[in-house]
Symmetry: C2
DNA sequence: CGGAATCCGTTTAGATACTG
DNA sequence: CAGTATCTAAACGGATTCCG
């Protein structure tokens, strides 16, 4: 546990710390590639506008891949990038922690 | 990895997910009990107002203990609660992840 | 003096409606 | 279907003020 902690954890949170980002990442980790509508259905609490925005930020940070198929109807698929997959431990730990605490 | 993940991670984020909360928790974990001024000095990026607010929320969620000494000058000490200490793995993993990615 | 409350501007998130 | 547009509400940031 080094003293990069000071800024390390800050910058980690900038990538992960959007209000819904861990949830999005967790779903992509658990269930693999998903299209926009599926994600939206799996997280009905998030409005489309916010979902779009959070996905774009995750894409910008290199954690998710976004693939657009130029079809009618349109199709856009999201998946974890290699980099995003390195978050697996963190995400499952967070999940385990909640389970342990019992606050649902 | 169970399907409580759906809401589990959401509620975890409500407790941990304030913009500065992981940073605060990490410092308290690493360095033990700290008074307000020390925390403020260790995190100069956070304004006092926001720091106060985040600490109060952490207290409300049972993750930190807040002890007020009725003295002149006043003294307020913060420390991780037992519950807060269960976050250790998550926090150090987050730190390790940033180190691994190299994005500072 | 340390810790925090207040006022106010900016940034981020939520709700709803609408379009290529 | 997968967004954008718009508007409102909540969270954050900066400075100042307050109180024991």
């Amino acid at each position: 546990m080094k003293d990069l902690s000071k800024y390390g954890i800050v910058s980690a949170l900038q990538a992960i710390g959007g209000k819904w980002k861990p949830h999005i990442l967790f779903i992509l980790l658990e269930k693999g590639t998903k299209r926009f509508g599926e994600l939206s259905g799996l997280m009905p609490e998030i409005t489309q506008g916010v979902l779009t925005q959070q996905l774009r930020e995750l894409e910008k940070d290199g954690l998710v891949n976004r693939v657009v198929y130029q079809e009618i109807p349109p199709r856009v698929e999201y998946s974890l990038s290699t980099h995003g997959k390195t978050l697996e431990h963190i995400l499952s730990n967070m999940c385990a922690w909640v389970y342990h605490t019992g606050n649902l």
